[in-house]
Amino acid sequence: MRLALAFLATTFLATAAALAAVSDAHAETPADFLRTYEAAARQDDSGFTGFSAQRGEAFFKTTHGREWSCASCHTPNPTVGGKHAKTDKPIGPLAPTANAERFTRPDKVEKWFRRNCNDVVGRECTPAEKGDVLTYLMSLAK
């Protein structure tokens, strides 16, 4: 009986540890994303001098030779909810200061940057552009 309990306890602890490891591997903070983009931006350009919230805001709010800007769906105020420009489906606030879920999952973040940059800019965004936009989003008060 004692042996069985010890076995159960060990299994439970091992599972809990494995789950914690998995969630740690995926959970990141907006600052982690900035560090990753910064390292990549430096690699692209040795003269890189840092991200700019002002550049990010301009990138976010203007169109890039196509129909939509980021703000078309996320609104010019990313601390509030937006809606899909075509389907009207509600979109939660994009700024991490207003929505704790934002910029915590690398797979999700890269998926949406890939898709939305293709729609808005017609290509993938550079690490410098992503860093500028994220810096802008992180600078917004709730």
């Binding site: 899909h84 389907t87 489906k89």
Partner: protein, 154 residues
């Protein structure tokens, strides 16, 4: 050209997309679900129940996700494979001679027939915006519930 949309539907009726419509087990309620499908296909629009299109249509939709009705909806290969399998398994039954599969639920003869009593003004309402916006009137669409009892025209 007073009613281009209606004429379009009429043309579709005549052309006869060879898709008679889904076979429903329980009224107009769709129960097939999958968390990945729900999350991915439901992030920009209602996750359209797989029974609403035949497997050939879903395969065609999934093959063109990078240009999905004007937007990039591309997926990583593992997610893409999982969703394709789910859609194929739960797709509607194909009837009639094989032809070009419809890509939009709203293009199917079944959809047009089901909505032939809807006045033109409803489709033009800013709250509806498009016939593909199921949830504008079908208040239970997010749950797969398309029962007429839960229908509310905005």
């Amino acid at each position: 050209m007073k009613h281009p949309k209606r004429i379009g539907y009429l043309a579709l009726l005549i052309a006869g997309v060879p898709w008679a419509g889904p076979v429903l087990a329980d009224g107009d309620r769709y129960t097939a679900t999958d968390p990945t499908w729900k999350a991915e296909c439901g992030s920009c629009h209602v996750a359209y129940p797989p029974a609403l299109l035949p497997a050939a249509s879903w395969r065609a939709v999934m093959a063109g996700l990078d240009k999905h009705f004007g937007t990039d909806a591309s997926l990583d290969p593992a997610t893409h494979a999982r969703i394709t399998t789910f859609l194929e398994r739960n797709a509607g039954r194909e009837r009639g001679a094989p032809a070009k599969p419809p890509l939009r639920v709203t293009e199917t003869r079944w959809f047009v027939h089901k909505h032939d009593e809807v006045p033109g003004a409803v489709w033009k309402s800013v709250k509806v915006k498009s016939p593909s916006n199921c949830a504008a009137c079908h208040t239970g669409a997010e749950r797969g519930d398309f029962d007429e009892d839960n229908l509310r025209i905005p």
